[in-house]
Every structure is written in structure tokens, then in C-alpha cells.
Symmetry: C5
């Protein structure tokens, strides 16, 4: 569970609620308006349907789960594993890596190891893995794009709703009692759009992008590590080649390269 995401979202909503309540004459009821919800949520959903294929939208659930669930392979464990593989490959040959494929869970690394055991040319394996990474990264970015578009369509339909509210109000301008409340309604639509964008879509999209870059570092370590093993590097050099991808802080925790 990525606590930061959950705590962030809840505390953001709490802040807005508290601010409304401590403002003199403010109450939450003023901020509930059904036509405004209709316009912002309905319009955004409609635009998403036009923007993406059903299959892509169906993947949004998975994208969101990734934003709330923290997961991922530990770089220090990966380095330790690669030292072991390098040691094994040096002593008993590349084919001995077959014995470790049982313990590898990550399908990307697993298929790379299997190609190596199958005797594929190192260049071909590198090419396969990097092609897979490129397309994986592009797919991830397109999943995040759904959130980014929510962050863009939300405020846009907020504005559309404000224009609707203003038009109705101005057409009834003689009814002076109605001005204030209908203006409030017009403004609530923009408020909904802004909250949808800034307390949901935009920060989640950014978190997913950050997650994806972190994952790409891990995958790059796998590609570089396998290439180093295939070119016969010593465990020490393999470790060196992987460590340079990590921040100094994390390297210190790993201790000096053995």
C-alpha cells in the first residue's frame, strides 16, 4: 500500500472541507450541485470514451492500482542476484544459469535468462530486451495518458459548465434574487473540474510517471547485467556496472563493491 498516495488524497480533501467550514458563512451544502457533477463527470467520461479505446480505458483500473500499491524489485537484491549469476556463469558456464531460472519471478528477466541459456547471440538478446523496454515504456506512458487527459478534460468541462451557468443566469438577469445562487452554481462546476485535476488526476499521473522511470532503471540494470554476464565480466565488474545506475545514498547502504 502506497500510504503517501492515500494520505495525500484524504488530507487534501480534509483541507478543503476544513477551509470551507472555518470560512464565515461557509457550509458544505453550498458545494453540492447535481447539474455541475453531470457536466464535469459526464463530459470528462464522454471525452475519454472518444479519446481512448475501450481496451485502454479498461486498463485504467490497473494503472490506478499501481498508483496506490507500492511494489517493485529491490535494487540491492537485484545486484546480489546478479553477482551470484555472474559467479555461477564464470565457474560453470552460461548454461548453468538454467538452474536459477526457477527462482526468477520477473518475466522480463526470466525470458532474458532463458534466451541466454538457449544460446542466443548476446547482440540478439540485447536487441530483444531493449525493443521490449521501448515498447513497454511507450505502453506505460499511454496508460498514464488517461490520467493526464482526465486532468485536462476535467477543468475544460468545468469551464463548459461555467459557461452554461452564466448563460442561464444572464438570460434571467431581471430576477435579481437568482443571480447569486446561479453564479455560485456556475463557479462550482469549475471547482469540481479543478479538484478532479489537482487532487486526483494530475498528481496520480505524475506518480505513475515517476514509478515508470524507477521501473525502467531496474529493467535497465537487468539488461546491462545480463550483457555483462554474457561478455564474461567478473562478479565485481558486473556489480560495478549496475551500481552506477543507483543514487550515491543507496550505494552507501550497499557497502563498498566487493
Amino acid at each position: 500500500m502506497d500510504l503517501a498516495t492515500v494520505v495525500g488524497m484524504l488530507s487534501g480533501i480534509a483541507c478543503l472541507v476544513a477551509a470551507i467550514l472555518i470560512t464565515p458563512r461557509g457550509n458544505l451544502g453550498m458545494f453540492v450541485d447535481y447539474p455541475s457533477m453531470f457536466i464535469v463527470l459526464g463530459g470528462t467520461t464522454a471525452a475519454l470514451l472518444m479519446n481512448f479505446s475501450i481496451r485502454e480505458l479498461a486498463g485504467l483500473g490497473r494503472v490506478l492500482r499501481n498508483a496506490f500499491v507500492s511494489r517493485g524489485i529491490s535494487p540491492s537484491q537485484l545486484i546480489a542476484d546478479f553477482r551470484r549469476y555472474a559467479d555461477l556463469a564464470r565457474r560453470e558456464g552460461i548454461l548453468a544459469l538454467e538452474r536459477v531460472t526457477g527462482e526468477v519471478k520477473d518475466p522480463f528477466l526470466l525470458s532474458g535468462l532463458q534466451h541466454a541459456v538457449d544460446g542466443l547471440d548476446p547482440d540478439v538478446i540485447q536487441d530483444l530486451m531493449r525493443t521490449e523496454l521501448d515498447y513497454m515504456s511507450a505502453r506505460h506512458e499511454r496508460g498514464v495518458k488517461i490520467l493526464r487527459q482526465i486532468g485536462s478534460y476535467g477543468p475544460s468541462f468545468g469551464m463548459v459548465g461555467t459557461l452554461i451557468g452564466l448563460t442561464i443566469m444572464l438570460a434571467n438577469l431581471k430576477d435579481i434574487d437568482a443571480i447569486g445562487p446561479s453564479m455560485a452554481v456556475a463557479i462550482i462546476t469549475t471547482f469540481y473540474g479543478a479538484v478532479l485535476a489537482y487532487l486526483f488526476a494530475v498528481p496520480l499521473a505524475e506518480k505513475m510517471t515517476n514509478r515508470n522511470s524507477e521501473e525502467m532503471v531496474i529493467r535497465e540494470m537487468m539488461v546491462k547485467g545480463l550483457a555483462a554476464i554474457q561478455s564474461g565480466d567478473s562478479p565485481r565488474v558486473v556489480e560495478q556496472k549496475l551500481r552506477v545506475l543507483l543514487p550515491p545514498r543507496m550505494r552507501e547502504q550497499l557497502g563498498p563493491a566487493r
Copy 2:
């Protein structure tokens, strides 16, 4: 028929209509204004004529059809085909591919296969195919550009119309009864521009861009597959080289590489 696009557009309009009707004192008649339509649709059309050549604009129909009609080559079928071609080429030589050219419908793949049968150098074929892909992709992006510019000119002329409405209203400020309705008219123009952008041009442009990237993945598979066959790869390796371009989900559906 790409249902998502149609359902999205219709439900978006339905949402706005419903929101107008359930707002107290709102009715649809308030949102019909001929000068505003003139400004937004006329101005946008005029700017498009200046922006694009007649030939490019005439292609907009084809671009839109692509947004509403879902089509495309299935990646799993393509992989199965390439396994077959690879098998054939291995057993009977590249020239045997001539027999399958009759069944290939896609002109891009067909011309690649024919070049291979004609004995063109693999490097030359790769170069021809990639050059064609580059220019194809640039042309697609220019077709989508028309939609993007509608999404940009629409709100711009919406604003121009609002300025016209405001100027007329302010010049007649003494006539207090006229303020409300003419302000409403001024705002309707911006409303038209926003609807044209967010329930038509922008999401359709994004859908076309997504479609184009999916098509490019398919075409890249064709280029990579043909190169693999020409370099004499086994059907298994050919399949591997194509599978890495696909999302894990789709690969699972294909079953393990045979």
C-alpha cells in the same frame, strides 16, 4: 464501427443537454444563437482554409472515418502468418514466399515480400520500408493536425465572438434591459468553441494519434519480421522478435512461444 467514439460523443451531448434542462430556469433555446454559430464555425473554417491546402482538408473525411471505424490487423494473426512464412522460407528458400503474396492484403507488407522475392538486398528492403514508415507516420500526424487546429481555432473564435458581443453590449450600456441577453450571446460563442474543441476535435485527434501508434507497432512488426526471415531466423526466433513488441497481456493470450 468504433462504438466508444460514437457513444462518447452522443453521451457527452446528452450530458450537457440534461444539465441544461435540470438547472432551474434553463432551457435549450437559450443556447441557440445564429451570429455565434457564424463566428465559431465560419471563423474556424476560414482559418482552416488558410492553414491547410484544399487537398489536405479534403482528406479530413478519411481521417474522421478512421476515428469512427475500428479496423486493423490482428497482431496474433500477423505472428501466426510470420511463423508460416519463416517456416516456408527455411524449408524452400526465400523465393517460395512468392506463393503467399496472393493472400497478403496489406500493401505495405506485400511490397516488402515482393522485394524479398525479387532478391533485393535485405538492407535495401529495410531502408525502403523504414523510409516509407517515417513518411507515413509524418503524413498521419499531419492529417490529425487538422483536428488539432479545429480544437485550437474553435475556442479562439469563441473568444473573438465574445469580444464582439461585449463590444456591442458595452456600446449600448444605457439600454439596461439588453445587457443580460447580449452578455448571454457573448458567452454562447465561447461555449460553442469549447464544445467544438472538447466534445469533437481534441478527443478525436487524440484517438487518431493512438490509432496511428498502434498501427506503427503492427508495421514495425512487419519490418522486423521480414528482416528476421531474410536473415534466416527459425520460426521460433521470428516469433520471439515480434512478441516483444506486444503487451504481456496479449502475449499470454497467444500462449507460450512454440
Copy 3:
């Protein structure tokens, strides 16, 4: 004459005029204001003078002529010509190309052919031609930049004028009769800036950019064609190498590669 550009500009202006006239109480006289013109046209001109060198600004006329006059080399003619050159070069040697230099009007292609006849190394010619293309493309983009900056400075000075108008109005707020008209004046300046941008500068800049990319496709065909001839390709292969740059529609019109 590029009719689309002319028709677009005239019809855009006609739309705005018509919309003003059919709006109740609207008349064209309300939209004529000399201080506003001063601010938008004067300010934009001043900023352009600061932004560009006199020599670049003097080239704007040429840039604009290109936007209104449609011209350009036909790709199908170019392909036919290159088939002929390839045929000639194959049968009588590269030097025989000297005979066709008289008929070539385009200076870029002409200098490439002359280098080939002069016996320059194919790599050197490719390098010369591509360097020229890179710098040509950068120069074109800088010519278009003037139009883009008009599209940016116009609305900016429109806003400056609005601020001037608002300040004057607010300093005279007690004179209630003056509010409406001076507000109108303030808004007209923004209107002028928007029209300058959206019915002149922005679409023309986009058209020029489109033209430039089309021209670059033609020039790329020249570079690729000459390289193919120098490497001794058959007329059929030369044609193939040029055709892949064209859209399928245009290729169909050309008929199958002979």
C-alpha cells in the same frame, strides 16, 4: 495563386462582418478605434523590429508571397525525370548526365547533378546536399517565425491596450456615461489582436510550415534519387526508392512501378 488562402482570409472577415451586422444593435462603426489600432499594430511592429534583424523582416514579403502563391515541383514529374536520368546513367555512364543539366531548373537538384558530373565522391555529394537541406529548413523555419511572433505579439499588445483602456476608464469612474464606450474601446484592442493572430498570422504560419515540409519531401527525393543513381541502381529501384516517400493515393495515380 493559392485560392484556399485568399478565400479563407476573405470569408473569415466576411463571417465576422456578417455576425456583427446580424447581431441586434451591432454596427461596424463600433469596431473602429484609432488608439486601439495604434497600440496593436504599432506595438507589434515595434516588437518585431526588436525581435528580428531588418534583413529578416525584409524577407517577410517573400514568405507571405509563398503563402498565397502555390507552386512546387510535381513528385510524379520528378520520379519520371529520375527514371530517365537513371536509365541514361546506366547506359552511358554518370558523365552523360551533363546533357540533362540544361533542362533542370531547380538550383538544388542542378548543383547536385553537376557535382555528380564533376566526379565528386557520392558521400561528399550526399553530405553537401544534406547540409544544405538542414540549413535551408532552419532558414525557412526562421522566416515562418516572424508570422508566429506576430501571432504572439498581436494578442499581447491587445492585452496591453485593454489595460490602458481599463486604467483610463477606472480613473474616470465617476463619469458613468463614459464607462460603456471606454470599456468597449478597451475590448476592441484585444479584438484587433485576436483577429491579427487567428485570421492572419497563425494560419499563415501553419500553412508555410506545411509547405516547407512538403518541399522537404521533394528535396529528400532528389537526394535519395541522386544517391541511388550514383550507386548504379536500375531505373526500377530508383523509382521504388522515391515512391516510398509518397502517400499511397499518389502512388496509385502513378500506376505500378515499371
Copy 4:
């Protein structure tokens, strides 16, 4: 201590305070509003929690310290050092560099030197160092991203607060005495967001980006210098290769290359 950052921030606040005080009827008390602080600071913090991982946010302190503390390796000292290393390596061989590793404080340069002493292949060392630089630069940019997002979320929640304030005010429109003060409150939220962005987050983010590019120049000098030493360049050529990265002004201060 980077005085410019401190002086800039303090003088910016002083300017705003002075401007408030010298404006007729202005006093600082008008600009203190607790709900507004709640919305801007609380909302921004909430969005940051959703946007970044706890570990990244915890690094913000370090990022900020870098913005206020000026530090860094002097290029002229680095060039003098590299001349010395080059001289040593030429006269006594690469292994003699082991003697200077004790005086090198920078861990990046130190590890490069140790790799050279360990006899790693120059290409491998270059590859290790450049990979480390790429990932270092990406990490730095992600640290700066926190500041950039504060500069983006601050004004966004300022706008959210304004919408809240406007809604409350409009719902109480009949109470005319309340309009002015509650509008002021609505506007103060935007004011807080703007100050957070323009007198804190945006300029600090830019300073960090500048610092990072300067650091990258220094690190590039280390990579280029080590490569030059390993390829056996004379001290004079090593110095030449490092000097070209510096501005002419700094080179003049160094005197002519010896």
C-alpha cells in the same frame, strides 16, 4: 552560503510588504487569512504526497540546502590537477595514479581513477562514467521536479481557494456588507499561491537546474580528462580538451595553455 538566493528571497518579500504599506489604506493584516493558508499550503502538500514517494519528498531538504549553499569544484583547480595527473601518468605509467587517489575527494572522479588504476578498459570506464552521469542528471532533475510541482500546485490551489471563496460569497450575496471582505479573502488565496510560486518554488527550481548544468560541465571535464590521460595525451593536450568546455572569460583568467 549562496547570498544571492537569500538576499533575493528576503528583498522580494520586503518589496511586497513595502508596496502594501505605501499603498493608501493598505495594511498587512488584510493579507493574513487562515482558511486561505489552509487551502494553499494544505492542498499543495497533499498533492505533493500523491505526486512523489515519501523517499523523494524527504530529499527536498537536501535539494533546498543546495539552493542556498554555494559549493562546487573550481574548474581551474580541476584543470591544474588533471595536468598533474597527465604528467604523472606519462612519466611513470597509469598505475602511478594510485598515489593521487588519496587526495581526491569527489567520489565520482575517485571511482574513475580507481578503475583506471585497476586496469579496466578505457571504453568500459567511459561507459561506466557516462552511464553514471546520465542517471545522476535524471535524478537531479527529479529532485528539482518537486520544486517545479510546488510552483504548479501552489497557483492551482490558489485558484481552488478563490473558487471556494467566490461560491461562499455568491451564496450570501444578499448580505452586501460581506461581499468586499469575502472577495478579498477569495483573492488572498490566489495571492498566496502566486507568492509561493514566484518568490519560492519557480526561481529555486531554476537555480537548481542551473547548478546541475554547471555540475555536469565539471563532471564532463572529469570524464574527458580521464579518457585523455588513458589515451596517453600530453598534459598540454589534456588541458586543451578541458579548456574548451569553459567560457572564454574563465579561460583568460587561467592564462594561455602551457
Copy 5:
């Protein structure tokens, strides 16, 4: 003296002054407000101090001088010089270039020539010169960045001032006589920010960027020219290689390549 810059700035200010004076009831005194100046100039200066190092800000004077003073090496003179060098190098060998180093004023070209005379490898010289160009170009862009940030902070602090003015006005809303003038003051701050941006910072930044690209063309000619001489090209080929970087117009003025 770059007259265009000076004339542009003066005529821009004249336009605004004239527009203010010819607007009924407008006078220049309305546009002088000390708190507004404080906020815009003080705030922008403060943000610049936080954004850049003192050393970078101190270089702004030099950057500005370049915007007002037109200078630069003539391409036609450079081509003539390179023909001469090529001729000399062909007849008497590369070392004979030593004789012309006395007449070369540009330090970049001079150091390249000296390296050639010193017998450095052509690849090393190319590498040195291109590295220097890359870092030179990055430094120029960072100098221009100061102007760009003035163009961004100016309007930002204009908005901050407007928010301050609005808050003070709204807190004193009962004093109806004060509304107009204090609103005017609020708007003047935005006006100052816009003028600072659009009649000073933005066009000057663009002019500097244009100048830098022109200078980069000249420097690229130097790199290409020296490489051509070192590879033993004839004066005619050297000239050809430099001419392709120039616009056709300028090439015509040079006459045909001899």
C-alpha cells in the same frame, strides 16, 4: 549599433504614449504609480537573484550590449579567407597556415588553425571545436535565459500586484470613491509587467537567440572549412562546402563558385 532594436523600443514606447494621449480623458500621469513599480521591478529583481548566480546576472550587461550592437563576421569574407587558406595549404602544406594566424582575430578560428599547425590529428581538432561549440551554444542560451525569465517574472509580479491592489480595494469597498482609482492602480501593475515583457525582455531574448544561431552558422563554417582544408580539398570544394550553409540570396551575391 543595431538600429532596429533601438528604433523598435523607442517607437513601441511612443506608440503607447500616443495612444494614451489620443484616448479621450487619458493622460500619462494616470500611468505612474510607485507601489506598482516597486512590486514589478522589485519582485522581478528578487526572483532573478534567486534564479541565477551573481556571476550570471553580472553578464546580463554583456548580453544586452550584444542585442543593441550589431557585429559579426561576414560570411563572404570568411569564404574568401578559407579559399586563400586552402590554396596556401595545398601549395605549401598545412604548416604554411602559420603565416596567416597573425591576421585571424576570432579566437575560435585562431585556436583551430593553431591546432592544425601544431599537427594535431584532424579528428581531435574537429572534436575539440565541436565540443567548444556545444558548450558555447549552451552558455549563450543561458545568458538569454535571464531575459526570458524577466519576460516571465514581469507579468507574474504584475499579477501579484494586481492581487494586492484588489485585496486592498475590496477591504475598503464601502468607500465607493476609492474603488475606481485603486482598481486603476491594481491594473497598472499588470500593465507594467506586460510592457516589461513585450517591449523589452521577450523581443530582446528572441533577437539574442537569432543572433546566436547566426553566429553558430559562421562557427560551423569555420569547423567545416578547417576539416576540408585538413583533408586536402581544393579551394573550389572548400568553397562549395561552406556555400551550402548560406541562403541562396547570399550565394548569388557571392557570384558562382570559382
